[in-house]
């Protein structure tokens, strides 16, 4: 079976990062600088991605600005006809840097914020970051660049949506993504300190949707649900290995950035295989493609066309078997595992990513 073509590539250039957020989505084992792919390999990977059909590249990390040859990679993405988005903390993004990246053909910039104000923002980031992020955001907008903002939501900042949205508005962002923490990696470890209450979540949904309507046509407000509180699992990746791929700092190619959570999955590497070969042949990509792998209750469920059985990484993390229905699903026999997490007492302190 020939798989469909991928549209998106997440290029994780480095795991180095000036922040140490307790919900970091990177794996617990980070790649050292010496193991990072050299720029020549990334240039080859980008060309292969474009050939494969990829039209959209996210340069991410860690902090992608710490990867020295980033401008060259942006230029490559542009010359290969791909749209590029820089996903950054904003630290190190000054006017000269913005001009340089823009002249190489960067299309958009997304800066993360941790809160609407510095005390909480810096506490979450584990660094003196908030004011520098605001400065970077203003620099991006002043340069006429489309600014996207991303705020990861958790129990400590989810009640502050009014102020967060007002801040995004005052900065002149085109797009604000309010993304509830998804519990993998460090976030899973810190879930008792991060998980909001049901009451917080419902209130936040209403607030986000009220502002989204008010700001329509001016600023796009996107609210990403916290899936533990849902009855239907998220349609993870729109089906495993169907639309996008992730290349991590050492060159392993993953169907999803959290796929390291699945212990028995072996990833092929761009140093030894072409991206096209990996997309078509890699076991990690073929394992959960389509519907054949599905157990019950997914196999006979009409919703499988919509939710694809949910998230493989979550099934691996919560019930130790990736080839199982996402336990968030109300029809999963393992739903009590999620309910037990929701019933856990909240913790006051989190552990920062080391």
């Amino acid at each position: 079976m020939t798989p469909p073509r991928p549209y998106g590539l997440l290029a994780e250039l480095t795991h180095r990062c000036p922040l140490s957020c307790p919900y970091c989505s990177n794996p617990l084992e980070l790649t050292a600088r010496e193991e990072e792919l050299p720029a020549e390999v990334w240039v080859r990977v980008l060309a292969q991605a474009a050939q494969l059909g990829v039209v959209q590249v996210g340069f991410s990390g860690g902090e992608p600005l710490l990867y020295r040859d980033l401008p060259r990679l942006i230029a490559t993405a542009r010359s290969e006809g791909m749209y590029s988005n820089l996903i950054t903390s904003g630290l190190g993004l000054d006017a000269a840097r913005v001009r340089e990246l823009r002249s190489e053909g960067l299309d958009a910039i997304q800066i993360s914020l941790q809160a609407d104000e510095a005390t909480l923002g810096d506490e979450v980031a584990g660094a003196s970051a908030h004011e520098r992020k605001l400065e970077a955001a203003r620099t991006v907008v002043a340069a006429g660049f489309p600014l996207g903002l991303n705020v990861v939501l958790h129990r400590r900042n989810i009640d502050r949506l009014d102020a967060i949205i007002a801040l995004a508005e005052s900065l002149g962002a085109m797009r604000l993504e309010l993304a509830n923490t998804q519990f993998y990696g460090w976030a899973f470890r810190n879930r008792a300190a991060l998980l909001p209450t049901l009451e917080q979540v419902r209130h936040a949904e209403q607030t986000a949707s009220r502002h989204a309507a008010r700001l329509a046509g001016r600023m796009q407000v996107i609210y990403v649900l916290p899936d533990y509180y849902e009855q239907q699992p998220k349609p993870c990746l729109h089906g495993w290995a169907s639309r996008s791929l992730t290349v991590n700092p050492r060159g392993d190619v993953l169907p999803c950035q959290a796929a390291n959570a699945i212990p028995d999955l072996a990833f092929d590497n761009v140093r030894t295989h072409s991206l096209g070969w990996i997309w078509r042949e890699s076991d990690a990509f073929n394992r959960f493609r389509g519907f054949e792998w599905m157990p019950e209750p997914c196999q006979s469920c009409p919703e499988r066309e919509r939710d694809f059985g949910g998230c493989r990484c979550q099934a691996a993390l919560l019930i130790g078997d990736a080839a199982n229905t996402d336990p968030v699903c109300e029809f999963s026999p393992n739903r009590p595992v999620v309910d037990a997490i929701l019933a856990e007492p909240a913790a006051d302190a989190w552990t920062y990513r080391g």
Binding site: V55, Q56, G81, D107, A108, G148, R175, A216
Partner: protein, 89 residues
């Protein structure tokens, strides 16, 4: 309801490009790509920030030899949809 721009133009973060594999017109944006139908593509290319919706319908009607009134609703719906998705402003 998405705001209905009087003089629509491509959002600053959107870029139109032909698909390398299929030749189909795409609108690329930070989170992905939208494949445009032939009509939607013709409309998008007329969204230059100077023309009004009526003028876009008229230009399109001239190109396809159709009545502007018949096209106006379609043009408006297309622009409203792309505006709602943050691709036109």
């Amino acid at each position: 309801m998405p705001a209905d721009p009087s003089h629509p133009r491509l959002a600053a973060h959107a870029r139109r490009q032909l698909d390398r594999l299929t030749g189909a017109p795409l609108l690329l944006h930070p989170e992905g790509a939208v494949e445009l139908s032939e009509t939607a593509d013709a409309i998008v290319q007329l969204c230059d920030g100077a023309r009004t919706t009526e003028e876009i319908a008229a230009a399109l009607a001239a190109e396809y030899d159709a009545a502007p009134d018949a096209l106006h609703a379609d043009v408006q719906a297309c622009i409203a949809e792309l505006t709602g998705r943050g691709l036109l402003t």
